[in-house]
């Protein structure tokens, strides 16, 4: 844990569901990451334009600007921060749409324990 503390990697959570965002924030903070949470895509993109992050945990269905638009916008703005999709969408179409942006992973939230997500985050940020 100290290893992560030292590095203090910044993770941005873009998730409109506050309780879920909170759970992720608590979990990731507890193991030493520097976590920021925004509740919609628009805020996420504007924050990403100002600050750099090591990883983005991105929801897909959100008000104002959804996850797909965020990905498109980041691509347009050449912001190449790694992305893990955390969504409750599971149709092949949705998965495929995100794959073209080179996302690191696609987790269905209800089917995935927090520990699995954390493990993957650690793996990516190693």
């Amino acid at each position: 844990m100290n290893f992560y503390m030292k590095s203090a990697k910044k993770i941005l959570i873009i998730e409109d569901e506050k309780t879920l965002a909170r759970a992720l924030e608590v979990k990731l903070t507890s193991i030493g990451f520097n976590v920021r949470v925004v509740l919609n895509g628009e805020d996420g993109v504007s924050l990403l334009e100002k600050e750099s992050f090591s990883l983005i945990l991105l929801d897909l269905i959100m008000p104002k600007m959804d996850g797909f638009m965020v990905l498109e916008d980041l691509k347009a703005k050449k912001i190449k921060t790694p992305v893990i999709i955390l969504s409750n969408l599971s149709q092949e179409n949705d998965v495929k749409r995100t794959e073209v942006y080179g996302v690191k992973d696609f987790f269905i939230k209800s089917n995935t324990p927090l520990t699995t997500i954390v493990e993957r985050v650690i793996e990516i940020l190693k």
Partner: protein, 599 residues
């Protein structure tokens, strides 16, 4: 003695005289008799001579035969016919002069017996070998006391007659042959006559047929004229009917000539695109109605399917890729269209395009997808919350929990997991039913897939102390299938077998090469089984058999429904054998298709 002598002497003289006179009379009588005898002898001799002359003069061979069969006399004719001299003939056997001595012998024996024979046929062989066919007439001759002295036989030369007869026979035969030939000829003639009659009949029949044909032709001609008139009227009707149909169909229709110039549009086309018929007839379809792809980029003239159809590059084009047609007012609508060339005598003389505004279909498709997305999202979000927070509590992220609290939290977590599974299954069902599943077939290793599913169930298997065995034929080929869908089949069947088998039971899975180029996946258990009266409902959506409802509350009644849907869509078959409290075996066959052999 002397005196008396005188008288005695006189007596004696008288007596002597009488005697002399008597002597003279007798002498005279004798003389007469002698004369008479001489006459008679002369007469007899004459008579004999006469008879002899007659005999000798006869042209027929005459012969007398003794009772012993020896020739006693012959005439000249006999000498001539036999070529044997009279002296040689006399005292020889009569029979030796014939070709058939026995028959000759029998002949004269018959005469002795019966007194006579008539027309007895024999053939005389002369010394030189000449044959004379004769008919014998013979009778016996007797002395004055009636004793048979011999046979008198007269032969009649019938050689000429026989020859004549033979000739007659030959002639008769020839005549018969001629007659036969004649008959044959006659019969042939009869046959020919018959044939001629048949030919004549046929001719007549043909003539009659021709007459009938002529009549029919006349009738046909009349009918045709009527038909032509009727057809013309019908065509008018069809034309107006077709126009009505084309005008009324909901799809837009455009007909172009080989230059791609519009020659006809229907009412729906006018309504869809905002152009009036008179505005576009004779103009290029491709220019009048521009096409854009989904991104809004104009489709170039060369890439227009219509152009390709007209140039013969494509024959029938069914455009499933989404595209947009641009209306007269520059607005656009999603469309699909089917195009076909109009071919006359092997040459493309134009094309027909039928187009459809698929705005509604697109909306429905979108609504379907959105429903599933919405359902997924709305149902899963609260489940995720429960999941994650109970997980955090259980892992002690916010402080240690008591054993009891932990136990309750586990119940919450477990219950929530079941809800998650149910939602996932329901989503699968809706996706299968709505056809929003994207099936990506690829060469799939069925064994690897099954092994993965088994690994997932290891915990349950050991918890229930189930004796699990599997037999996978490592050499089975890859199959063309979508692995994520196929996995659902294996998962459903295997989890059912484990779920519906009591502790300590047996579950066996096998994958082998089926008999007719397919793969057979088999899962058998020693579980509760399916009640016979409910076996026909087992693949029905949401159906659960009575005997398991009480034992296991976690089933959804969707697993087998999903499995069956998937298997059947993949061109395979699914069936089972089951008896209650003994166990169940499920069978799945999947076609191999163009798969590769594994190494």
């Amino acid at each position: 003695m002397k005196l008396n002598n005188n008288s005695t002497t006189e007596n004696i003289a008288r007596k002597l005289e009488i005697l002399a006179r008597e002597k003279e009379s007798t002498r005279k009588k004798l003389a007469i008799t002698a004369k008479q005898l001489a006459v008679t002898a002369r007469e007899v001799a004459l008579s004999n001579k006469y008879s002899r002359s007659l005999i000798e003069a006869s042209l027929d061979p005459l012969v007398t035969i003794s009772p012993k069969g020896k020739i006693t006399d012959v005439n000249e004719a006999t000498i001539k016919v036999t070529g044997v001299s009279r002296q040689e003939l006399i005292s020889t056997d009569f029979s030796k002069y014939f070709t058939e001595p026995k028959k000759a012998l029998a002949g004269y024996k018959k005469v002795f017996k019966e007194g006579s024979v008539t027309d007895y046929p024999l053939t005389i062989r002369s010394r030189t070998g000449k044959l004379t066919h004769v008919l014998y007439n013979a009778s016996v001759y007797k002395d004055d006391k009636g004793k048979v002295l011999g046979v008198f036989a007269a032969a009649r030369d019938c050689t000429q007659a026989k020859k004549a007869t033979e000739q007659l026979e030959v002639t008769a035969k020839q005549l018969a042959a001629v007659a036969k030939e004649k008959e044959s000829t006659r019969q042939k003639l009869v046959v020919t006559a018959k044939q001629l009659a048949v030919t004549a009949r046929e001719k007549e029949s043909t003539r009659q047929k021709l007459v009938i044909t002529a009549r029919e032709l006349k009738k046909l001609h009349d009918t045709l004229e009527k038909k032509v008139l009727k057809r013309t009227r019908d065509l008018e009707q069809i034309r107006s009917r077709n126009e009505a149909i084309l005008a009324s169909i909901g799809d837009g229709l455009v007909v172009v000539n080989k230059e791609g110039e519009i020659s006809y549009i229907n009412k729906s086309f006018e309504e869809m695109l905002g152009w009036k018929s008179q505005e576009v007839i004779g103009k290029s379809m491709v220019e009048v109605v521009p096409r854009e792809d989904a991104r809004g980029t104009a489709v170039l003239y060369k890439e227009r399917i219509l152009t390709q159809v007209l140039s013969g590059k494509k024959f029938v084009a069914d455009l499933t890729n989404p595209f947009y047609y641009i209306r007269k007012d520059k607005s656009r609508f999603p469309a699909s269209s089917i195009m076909a060339p109009v071919v006359l005598n092997g040459k493309i003389i134009g094309a027909v395009e039928v187009l459809r505004d698929i705005t509604k279909e697109k909306e429905i498709d979108k609504a379907k997808t959105e429903f599933v997305s919405l359902a997924s999202h709305q149902l899963r979000t609260p489940l995720s919350t429960v999941n994650w927070y109970s997980e955090m509590l259980l892992t002690g992220d916010v402080g240690e929990v008591t054993p009891d609290q932990k136990k309750y939290l586990e119940e919450i977590y477990h219950g929530n997991q079941r809800m998650v599974d149910l939602v996932n299954t329901l989503l699968d069902v809706s996706r299968i039913e709505m056809g929003t599943f994207i099936v990506e077939s690829k060469a799939t290793n069925m064994i690897k897939l099954a092994q993965g599913v088994i690994d997932e169930h290891k915990l349950q298997i050991s918890e229930k102390k189930i004796k699990f065995t599997h037999a996978f034929n490592k050499k089975i080929p890859f199959i063309q299938a979508d692995p994520k869908i196929l996995r659902m089949v294996i998962q459903n069947l295997l989890s059912n077998a484990i779920k519906y088998t009591p502790e300590g039971g047996k579950v066996e899975a096998s994958i082998i090469l089926g008999s007719d180029k397919n793969i057979l996946f088999k899962v058998s258990d020693t579980g509760y089984g399916i009640p016979t009266n409910q076996q026909n409902k087992i693949f029905t959506k949401l159906f659960r058999a009575d005997n398991v409802v009480g034992k296991d509350t976690e089933g959804t009644g969707l697993g087998l429904y999903i499995a069956k849907s998937i298997v059947e869509r993949s061109g395979g078959k699914i069936w089972f054998e089951s008896s209650e409290n003994k166990g169940t075996t499920f069978y799945v066959t999947l076609p191999l298709k163009k798969s590769k052999i594994t190494h």
